[in-house]
Amino acid sequence: MKVIAERPKSLTDLQFTYCPGCMHGVAHRLIAEAMDELDMRNNMMGVAPVGCSVFAYKFFDCDMAEAAHGRAPALATGMKRARPDMHVFTYQGDGDLAAIGTAEIIHAANRGEHITVFFVNNAIYGMTGGQMAPTTVPGMKTTTSPYGRDENDIGYPIQACELLATLRAPYFIERVSLLSPQEILKAKKTVYKAMKFNKEERGFTFIEFVSTCPTNWGVTPAEASNWARENMLPYFPIGNFRDKSKEEGEAK
């Protein structure tokens, strides 16, 4: 019998705790597949955040640490410095990375820590029940922006890739989306690339996933994808913001 599809070895057999239609499971799978394909699992340490993906430390089948809210890049720094022969990644949401953890992500990126940061942006705080995120788009209603985000009062959404691309040290920065099967397949290639750079100790690598939250947005998964395409992508354009491998003359 030929195996056509199976669970990546880098994921445990625990059932995900995510809502129906949530893209965290897809993002997990892309990362796990890259870990399998690059044979990195036995030398991998990951850091889970606070947020919906707080239990990621149970889902990835490698060494895992659970960080305080926003502190994953600091933990990852300590881990990579403690065990330079290991590979390290963090998995963070928008509140975690772009609000409470802004200092940690900016300085880990600025030091050029040899880690990969996976940033899942769905414009809302999911686990605490749908509050405004630093990436909530103008006009978007959440439980703490009940009249819609007013950019004159609370500012515009933070664009993490653009912000980090002002720093010299990062090796690779790219924003991808998880809004359709085609986009997911494209994202898979980007994840593989970043993980390969991680394995090769190239430097700091960063991937932002534009994602959705059907539960807290109060829509179906299909409607969520359409809404994100229309409302999030204008603020979070898909594309590469840094690829030093091209500067090094090894374009793929």
Binding site: T12, R41, N42, N43, M45, V47, V54, Y57, K58, D61, C62, D63, M64, A65, E66, A67, A68, R71, A74, L75, A76, T77, G78, M79, R81, A82, R83, M86, A103, E104, I106, H107, R111
Partner: protein, 360 residues
């Protein structure tokens, strides 16, 4: 080895930490502990160690959390306002059963306070500091030599109990120079053994599990019944530490003591000068100096309350914090008097002597 060198406390504790096998240090500059971070910046590269100046004390303690989760000896240091910022991380480290060493070179507070020696962080250090039920082992040095010796002790206790250990010093001990004799540098073999001792639980594949490794470093237990068990287990560990690790110094404790002084760290140094002068004048005053301020040596105080002791005098560089523990030890049997000084100002031996004489 065996040779005495004149050093500041901040530098001595850093040198002693390196000799004890600390190869990772993360911190943020703050007065009056700057010589410590500067010493580490200079020396860590020479021993193939890691020095990172973090973007904040919050980040520094979380770097410690990450490195400790990998089973390595790691340290951070700061002074009072910075130690407040580290409390989040210390709570996580305690909750995750991780070893770590934190040095607090205390200064005057609250808020920014000043940069002079103080003991105002006693409550924070010994009663928790961060959120949740947990304990730090807290060591209180009173000389530069003891400050240095406590680095090795702190790492040994941290590793033994997988618990954060704080060295609670102050600006005087950090800045003052005294002769110090160091223990020898741990050998390559000893460092390798230190590395292996945590393989059972830490993140890092090893010869026991070469092909698959999934260790979790974590303080989260979402199921209340599981968290209850976890915290009860921590509690059992704290009970064991209380049973085995209380340390104190008896100074001039005699059957004819009329006053019993209790003081820790720098305050105890000053108290000793007063006690020596009074001894020459024929007055018998004893001192209990807690060396571990958690676990607290309550029994040492109650045992020193012999028949002739009329009063207990507590001396601290704060408004009266350790006095609450002394009162628990005294348990209402004797009056407990207090000499305190705030603002980062030391009381003098004369003031200590006068306070004792008031109560003789």
């Amino acid at each position: 080895m065996g040779e005495k060198v004149l050093m500041k406390g901040n530098e001595a504790v850093a040198e002693a930490a390196i000799r004890a096998g600390c190869r990772l240090y993360f911190a943020y500059p703050i007065t009056p502990q700057s010589e410590l971070i500067e010493y580490m910046a200079k020396m860590m590269p020479k021993v193939n160690g890691t020095f990172v100046q973090a973007e904040s004390e919050v980040s520094a303690i979380n770097m410690v959390y990450g490195a400790s989760g990998c089973g390595r000896r790691v340290m951070t240091s700061s002074s009072s306002p910075g130690i407040s910022l580290k409390q989040e991380g210390i709570s996580y480290i305690a909750g995750a059963n991780l070893p770590a060493v934190i040095v607090n070179v205390q200064r005057g507070g609250p808020g920014l306070g000043d940069i002079q020696p103080a003991q105002g962080d006693y409550f924070q250090a010994t009663k928790g500091g961060g959120h949740g039920d947990y304990r730090n082992i807290v060591l209180a040095p009173s000389t530069v030599q003891e400050f240095a010796d406590m680095a090795g002790l702190a790492f040994d206790l941290a590793d033994k109990y997988r618990n954060p250990v704080m060295i609670l010093s102050d600006g005087l001990l950090g800045q003052m120079m005294e002769p110090v004799e160091f223990k020898p540098q741990k050998t390559k073999e000893e460092l390798e053994e230190l590395d292996r001792q945590h393989y059972e639980w830490c993140m890092y594949p090893n010869e026991d599990e070469p092909n698959h490794h999934h260790h979790e470093i974590n303080s989260l237990e979402i199921d209340p019944l599981v968290l209850e068990k976890h915290v009860e287990k921590l509690s059992e560990k704290y009970d064991e530490i209380e049973a085995k690790e209380k340390r104190f110094e008896k100074y001039n404790i005699e059957a004819d003591n009329e006053v019993l002084v209790v003081a820790f760290g720098t305050s105890a140094r000053i108290a000793k000068s007063a006690i020596d002068e009074l001894k020459e004048e024929g007055k018998s005053v004893g001192l209990i100096r807690p060396i571990t301020v958690w676990p607290y040596p309550y029994e040492a105080i109650s045992e020193a309350m012999t028949d002739k002791v009329k009063k207990v005098v507590v001396m601290e560089l704060n408004l009266g914090q350790m006095i609450e523990d002394v009162k628990l030890a005294v348990n209402g049997k004797l009056p407990v008097e207090f000499l305190g000084k705030v603002g980062g100002i030391l009381f003098t031996p004369e003031e200590a002597k006068a306070k004792i004489l008031e109560n003789l």
